[in-house]
Symmetry: C2
Subunit: 368 residues, 2 copies
Amino acid sequence: MNLVFRAIYESGQTSRIEIARHTHLTRTTVSDMVAELIESGLVEEIGTSVSNGGKPSILLQMVADSRYLIGLNLAQDKFIGAVINLRGEIKQVYEVPSENQDGELALQRVYELLDRLVYSQWKPLIGIGIGTPGLVNARNGVVIQAVNLAWKNLPLARLIRERFSLPVSVLNDSQATAIGEFVYGGHSSEGNMVVVNVRHGVGAGILINGRLFQGDGSGAGEIGHVVVEENGLLCRCGKRGCLETLTSLSAVVRRSGLPDLDHVEEAFCTGDPHIRQIIQDAGAHLGSALAYLVGILNIHEIILTGEMTRFGEPWLNAVQQAMQRSAFHLLAQNTHLRMGNLDYQACILGASSFMLLDGYSLLFLNER
Amino acid sequence: MNLVFRAIYESGQTSRIEIARHTHLTRTTVSDMVAELIESGLVEEIGTSVSNGGKPSILLQMVADSRYLIGLNLAQDKFIGAVINLRGEIKQVYEVPSENQDGELALQRVYELLDRLVYSQWKPLIGIGIGTPGLVNARNGVVIQAVNLAWKNLPLARLIRERFSLPVSVLNDSQATAIGEFVYGGHSSEGNMVVVNVRHGVGAGILINGRLFQGDGSGAGEIGHVVVEENGLLCRCGKRGCLETLTSLSAVVRRSGLPDLDHVEEAFCTGDPHIRQIIQDAGAHLGSALAYLVGILNIHEIILTGEMTRFGEPWLNAVQQAMQRSAFHLLAQNTHLRMGNLDYQACILGASSFMLLDGYSLLFLNER
């Protein structure tokens, strides 16, 4: 069933004949499945197409508000969640504070957030997608390690599934952000894209042929803990000189000597040369690392997201210049660096899309 | 047609029913196509399978010697070519000297090599696959730049196709080597693998879900020209401090002060501590770079190939230790570094496999 729904979902508008051609299913099978989808309210007929020569065929489209999803972003300074329809339109957003909350406390906060979302007016709900910091086993939804939240081998998907009786998928927040920017960010792409997310950590999400690539251990894109400076600063992972000790938000705040990001941003905006230099240095370290990304993947579209993008063109230029300087020029000359468009919503939208398209084929089950 | 042949090719032995299930084609269509394949000699029936319950079905397999391919490796100190059957068995190998040959001269040498292979006893030939150093546009077979051969925007595929009237595919030698090791190297893999090839240059080939990933510009894996040492030695690409200036064969020979690789190897084998240190340093630089590969792809199987593997365990251990030191430990702990098994043949086998499976569906055309 999912195959036919997916064909309709992905095409926007299509006909039964097109679906049969696309899925290699027989027309009879497609017709039966479409009838079921219409019956369940997921799909509707919206008129006829005028094709050249052949007889006109009835167009089908998904009913965007026939089902709802929940997406969570646990990688901000607070936990943010939203109810989303099948077209990625955000219906409602809630947030709960998460500062200084970790371990069991942080988990309780996630439950609180979900209580509000799950018992809201938006029904039927078909699943929950979660973007969390840290390394995740995407197959079973276990958070292997999330240092900031002090989670280790936490079976997050199972706990939430049991509590809310909904399908749940969990993935790394940078990977979720990448899906969100890819699907809803309005970037041009032929199917491949890398999204590099720079906040307190540095992580990337990689899309290959329109699908998230997670590698063998779900950790593809985890570039923040590559050692780039021997005997550098101590990183929260326990090593010294990791990429994130030089390029992240925390690195910038620490080097500035100022109390927080807002102060850094203020000084930056007034043109403080010391702060400008710090931002440029952070960008340059990132750009040098991106040279490997260019060489390894040769993906032409690289999108930058996360709070470091607040520093705008000066930061982007520093990243760009260092990348061009350090990368193989025949590859770098065709590589485009751009800013993301969706801010924290990318993670929410991506986590819920992943739930819908890759995580489960339980679309018609577990509704509430 | 290719779909059915491919199903038979990939399965070893299979039945018409299995093929229908696998390809989503109807049984009638499959039967018709199989009949044509048998007619053309590509496929044969080899008895019946005893299934549990159902009626026995006739097993099919590809006839390995029904067609032949040519594979070329242009990345050694000489040009090497071979005639190969459909199972990757090498029937004949020829080589021509290529030292001090570049530009038009090098191309003439390629023609010479192909003359011998194309007009040999092995017929019918269905195509030529070429692994060449340098950056290649795999879509049109143009060698964008191959510094050692002084080729720039050379339409190699077109030239050879016109001369020999056979389908031709061209790809980077490290990418070809990766395919060869993946298909014929006897490594365990669930479909993802990275092969890092270290000779005068350093390049990688990346397999994702059993297919070569080439990126948007066919250059995926071109890691040799990432700058790792600011103001380092001048590289043949024109920049300073590229990875290959620190890790390649040429780097090792230069640092040793000895005339060539054979002398370095001799000194290494006698335990010369200076030479041992040079080899270990080269391995350590490679290992640090591999930390990015681990973080970006999180692919568990990394295979090392190329002449640097001559230095065996001491070199491998240096690569391994530096990789573990520089990579995110949660990813690196599950990453296995191994040596390749096929030497220069990997490139030949990979280039011809690529020709067969990815490059063209002209399997039944252009035969001679």
